[in-house]
């Protein structure tokens, strides 16, 4: 759908703590009903971005609008956002029901309406029957569900989630991911979700924004970010990619002695990078290099069998380590053997920055 009004529109927002620039001036545009994920390494500025949207911190520069209304000067309680925190955010002296009802009580909603609404939300997050428990009587996953219910019950326009699943074990996290996605579809609210877990991001996101070093590095659908990363950083951070840095020449990419073929020509003389996903690479077991492939020789230094996938590490003559992941059969070579890694030329992706 085409939208003239954005759910979140931040222009040039920045936040500094003293001399630390937590977030450099950034533009962020999130569509209505989108599940947007902020992904990135620790300390990158994800939480800062989220808290700026919520109004928990004041931007040092820039403006933020929610559904067309400028909220930059509004306190968190005056904004149409709600939030799920990583942990410790439930009110320990209130029951589950009181926790979920808190926002509605503040709005002076009639009691029976509150009760109906609360039990509807607890149903939605799969917690009916837990009304009278205290937070400390719940498991970590259940606590996060209560937080979710407490946020959803407000029917805010934007739901912010700051690493909501970080405290959960891997299995539970996976289940909750799918559930979050479902709930988002059901309630039709814009979700902005912060995580540093790639898998989590890929599972839930409609669109991923990669945040690092206080900058929004790149954004796009999970598929695009994974398959067609634009920036070298993205290729490095998402998936398992092998990256070659060098100078573009007429013949390809000069990586110091060797010239690799590029999928598309690049401007001669420019410093660029070429990335190839590890699962697009193969070890050639003595067979000749197929037509239209690139090959490099090196020494096999490690072999790990991971069930479905086998992973090998090859040290090139240049000293660079290359990871090759193949489904099924492992290379027959022993550790220490000379091997050749190869990939189809068009599997490579060029990064200008």
């Amino acid at each position: 759908m085409s939208n003239s009004v954005l759910a979140v529109e931040a222009t040039g927002i920045a936040k500094s703590y003293g001399t630390v620039q937590a977030l450099k001036p950034t533009d962020l545009r999130i569509e209505p009903n989108e599940y947007y994920v902020l992904l990135g390494p620790s300390g990158g500025g994800k939480t800062t971005t989220l808290r700026l949207i919520a109004g928990l911190v004041r931007p040092t520069a820039g403006r933020i609008s929610i559904y067309g209304q400028d909220v930059t000067e509004l306190a968190p309680d005056k904004r149409s956002t709600s939030m799920v925190f990583q942990s410790y955010a439930l009110f320990p002296h209130m029951t589950v029901e009181e926790n979920v009802a808190y926002g509605l009580t503040l709005r002076r909603m009639p009691r029976d309406e509150i009760r109906a609404e609360v039990s509807r939300m607890l149903d939605l997050v799969g917690l009916n029957g837990y009304d009278n428990r205290r937070p400390h009587e719940l498991s970590g996953g259940q606590q996060q569900r209560v937080q979710l219910a407490r946020s959803l019950v407000l029917h805010s326009d934007i739901l912010l989630l700051d690493e909501p699943l970080a405290a959960l074990d891997a299995k539970l996290r996976k289940d909750m991911c799918l559930e979050l996605k479902n709930i988002q579809k059901t309630v039709g609210v814009t979700f902005v979700h912060v995580t540093h877990n790639q898998e989590e991001a890929m599972t839930v996101a409609d669109r991923i924004g990669l945040v690092a070093g206080g900058e929004l590095v790149e954004q796009g659908s999970p598929e695009a970010i994974y398959n067609r990363p634009e920036k070298r950083f993205t290729a490095d951070f998402i998936g398992e990619n092998n990256i070659f840095d060098g100078t573009a020449t007429g013949a390809g990419l000069d990586i110091g002695g060797r010239v690799l073929g590029l999928p598309t020509p690049a401007e001669t003389g420019r410093e660029i990078s070429l990335s190839v996903r590890s699962e697009d690479m193969r070890l050639l077991d003595g067979e000749p290099k197929p037509e239209g492939w690139q090959a490099l020789s090196g020494t096999l230094i490690d072999k790990v069998y991971l069930g479905l996938i086998g992973s090998s590490v090859v040290r090139l003559e240049s000293g660079q380590d290359i990871t090759v992941r193949q489904v099924g059969a492992m290379s027959s070579g022993e550790v220490g053997a000379s091997v050749t890694v190869a990939w189809p030329t068009e599997a490579g992706r060029i990064h200008l920055s």
């Binding site: 928990l56 709600s82 939030m83 942990s87 955010a89 709005r107 946020s151």
Partner: protein
């Protein structure tokens, strides 16, 4: 850690010593309380229980007036000190100048009461001269106000520390969560944070009442036109030495404190078991 190979008798002896020191520190007061109930007073061979000296106290107009002032003073000091203690703990949590602020808050504890009281006395006299000469006002004449200021300085560090320790166990995310649910800053404080630091605020209140109730030196310097119970007792004792009346008065002061402390401890213990 019970040292498993340690000598159990040495361990017991250490406990015994600890208890002995506590009892020794308390014994003069306990002795005074005991004597205050003896009809024959100090040094007598016989012990006959009586409340007569206490009844006498409550028939003495001056003492009743002094008690009234003491409680009124304690009340005002609590009302002023508690919010200030909470505010200062909050300030400490948000300020970037934590260490200097902490030192400033605790410094009044280190300065001997009479030195501080003397400095304040001269300060208030100066201010009072200034206000009456320039504006014809009676501000900072020695009065209830000046006594309250002196006592607040004395109680504030304790309240600050007690509240701070309780607040340290509180997770600030909860305030943020409440704000996002639509609560104003004050509403979030009252609904979410206060219920969780209540215990600390309660002990701080009891603490302040006791500190104010027992305070002698600062009050004696800075009060104007009234006696509190401690100042009355001390001037009485210095004039007449220890008499059955002074024992009863001391007993009354001590037992008030003991009752308050006992109540606080009992409540804390009951809460712990719940």
């Amino acid at each position: 850690m019970m040292r498993e190979y340690g000598n159990p008798w040495a361990h017991r002896a250490k406990w015994l010593y600890l208890i002995f020191v506590v009892v020794a520190l308390m014994s003069p007061v306990l002795h005074t309380v005991t004597i205050s109930f003896n009809e024959h007073g100090f040094g007598a061979a016989d012990y006959d229980f009586t409340l007569v000296y206490y009844f006498d106290l409550f028939r003495n107009e001056e003492i009743l007036a002094a008690l009234g002032w003491t409680f009124w003073l304690a009340f005002v000091v609590v009302v002023v000190t508690l919010p200030m203690g909470i505010l200062s703990a909050k300030f400490y949590q948000t300020t970037r100048w934590k260490v200097p602020f902490l030192l400033l808050m605790l410094a009044p504890l280190f300065i001997p009461a009479d030195i501080m009281a003397a400095a304040l006395l001269v300060y208030f006299k100066t201010l009072s001269r200034f206000f009456s000469d320039t504006f014809g006002l009676e501000w900072f004449d020695l009065s209830m106000t000046t006594a309250v200021i002196g006592q607040v300085l004395w109680c504030l560090p304790y309240v600050f520390v007690v509240v701070l320790v309780t607040m340290a166990r509180y997770h600030a995310e909860q305030t943020e969560a409440a704000r996002i649910c639509g609560a104003t800053a004050w509403r979030a404080f009252w609904d979410v944070e206060f219920p969780q630091i209540k215990a600390g605020v309660f002990s701080a209140t009891a603490f302040t009442v006791i500190l104010s109730f027992n305070e002698y030196t600062r009050t004696n310097f800075l009060k104007g036109g009234f006696e509190t119970f401690p100042t009355y007792i001390v001037s009485y004792m210095l004039n007449t030495g220890m008499t059955p009346e002074t024992y009863a008065m001391s007993g009354l002061v001590s037992m008030t404190s003991i009752v308050i402390v006992g109540a606080v401890l009992l409540l804390a213990l009951r809460k712990e078991q719940a």
